[in-house]
Symmetry: C2
Subunit: 340 residues, 2 copies
């Protein structure tokens, strides 16, 4: 059993914590929370042990949420820490992980340099084997890499051009906008996503453009992939239909928008209506000579969860890529093929 | 003087009517309105003569909005009709224009077959000279064509790949959504915009993908243009800086979103805060070998207005492309160069 601590219990941290509990080879030994908010209260009620920074002890006492100890006490007893702290905070924590000689998984909000390797399970699991510090790339980059590496099984990928339409805020974020605007993010090309993809696939010719739209549910990507050789549409389908973590959505049943994907996740009684798979609109797949164009939706809150679980196993040298991905998928109910 | 009737007085019709009034060589002889709503009342108060279909006479009487006659009476006295009726209705009206032997300008909501030529002033004015029926392409296609034909002055355009993020509704449209979703529009590739561009530039290799976002202000386009030969960024800038109807927007003054473009239009006291120019985010212009990538915003309500004015002159054989475009730009205050 791998003893895992989760540092940070927000959007990603709480999902990774829940996912760890479901792994046959992992044990969640506790989570770090800095504020005694509703998420902390719910963690406590679920029986999750909460550890806090020294300066938060009083606040938790006042709020009546029991704590199990301090951050350092938690990390000392862990085999590995999943750092799900806000962007940039992970880098500050790294010295503590180093000092206590613990492996750590960082999130995509950190700079690539924080870790020994940037990680996407379907692309470079083996490269991350036994690495002390692994960085799971961001939600958008995870979706790009999953899709690009999968297309790499259709033919050699020579060039990727992508437009990313980002959700403005997560559903719970009430202080972010815009309400009614499109915001180039940034208004320069390429956006950071291209560089982030290159942190995993070093020499890929990729350029990305990004824009923020006033929606909270999911991102969408519009991909144009050029392969070395001419391909057939059926080969693209055959690879996509057989790759778990990528799911096809047909318009046959009137699924035509991100809101409808989320509605299906709710009807399927998925926890928190999460959709950790890349959701490809199958009707959008367009093949012309050696070019593939397609559209997919990305659930920003949950897509990196399976990658965090695999990164834990890779870092601990616990399993092969194939085994880890299989266990993660089956424990979390992650699909391949068609959504419905 | 060209006597122009405008059939339909909604988003496009009312703007085209106002633009006609400003032309030194045109006279607005009246507009057709079917419902006695606030737009009809304001047309009346501006002194515009309102003509209605037979079956609307009673409604206008009851609403106390005076009318000057019926649609047929208006069209009979016109040299040319700008048809700004809802999508598909223009095709129904065509037989009346034919019967009364009047030239007509149709909008992009009609099928290309309705007209002798699909039109974009910077692309194919000469092709439209003396054509009886001209179709001004839609707002998105107008922006694509303006930009592509302008890039054609930098080098030979070989391939265009574009993602179009569409506004969900116009500001006045209260019955359309979505509020919180992204909707592939459609979830098939290419979207109709590619075909529509091909109605003007016949053999261009173009593929487009489109998605609807919950915003009302402007569309945005993300373009990837491949030229035959390698080019320099400065050549792209030099052509763009010197093409009226295309305006560059720099982030230097913190203009970073469609909402800020509209705010500038309001501060500039533009009528209805209209922005008939293609608004290119200058920082987004990215040149790599023979590839150009860039982002721009498109004001769906007003971008086709100058094209309608030019289409009138082309159809009547009244002016050369250069003259018409110059008169239209100067009468409507249409900019080139930098927005501010």
């Amino acid at each position: 059993m791998i003893s895992v601590a989760v540092n940070g219990y927000g959007t990603i941290g709480k999902r990774v914590a829940d996912a760890i509990v479901k792994q046959p080879d992992m044990r969640l030994i506790g989570v770090v929370k800095t504020s005694p908010n509703y998420e902390a209260l719910m963690a406590h009620r679920k029986g999750i042990k909460i550890y806090v920074p020294q300066q938060s002890i009083k606040k938790f006492d006042e709020a009546g949420i029991p704590i199990a100890g301090t951050v350092e006490e938690l990390i000392k007893t862990a085999d590995i820490v999943v750092d799900a702290t806000p962007n940039g905070v992970g880098a500050q924590y790294k010295s503590i992980y180093q000092q206590l000689q613990k492996n750590a998984i960082f999130q995509g909000g950190e700079k690539a340099e924080v870790a020994d390797v940037s990680f996407s399970a379907l692309c470079n699991y083996n490269e991350a084997l036994n690495k002390k510090y692994i960085r799971v790339v961001s939600c958008n980059t995870t979706a790009l890499l999953r899709t690009i590496c999968t297309m790499g099984r259709v033919g050699k990928v020579e060039k990727v051009r992508a437009t990313i339409v980002r959700r403005a805020a997560d559903p719970k974020e009430v202080k972010k906008g815009p309400i009614n605007s499109l915001i180039p993010d940034p208004a320069t090309v390429p956006s950071h996503h291209a560089k982030d993809v290159n942190s995993v696939i070093k020499n890929l010719d990729i350029a990305t453009m990004a824009v923020i739209a006033p929606t909270t549910l999911m991102h969408m990507h519009f991909l144009n992939i050029t392969l070395k050789d001419k391909i057939e549409k059926k080969d693209v389908f055959s690879v996509l239909e057989n790759t778990p973590r990528i799911v096809l959505v047909s318009s046959k049943y009137d699924v035509e928008a991100t809101a409808e994907l989320v509605e299906i996740a709710r009807d399927l009684k998925r926890e928190r209506n999460d959709i950790p798979e890349v959701m490809i609109f199958s009707d959008s797949i367009y093949v012309k000579d050696n070019e593939i164009m397609l559209m997919y939706a990305v659930h920003q809150e949950s897509i990196v969860v399976p990658e965090n679980i695999d990164a834990i196993r890779a870092s601990m040298g616990a399993r092969s890529a194939e085994e880890s991905i299989r266990i993660t998928n089956s424990s979390l109910g992650i699909l391949g093929g068609y959504l419905i």
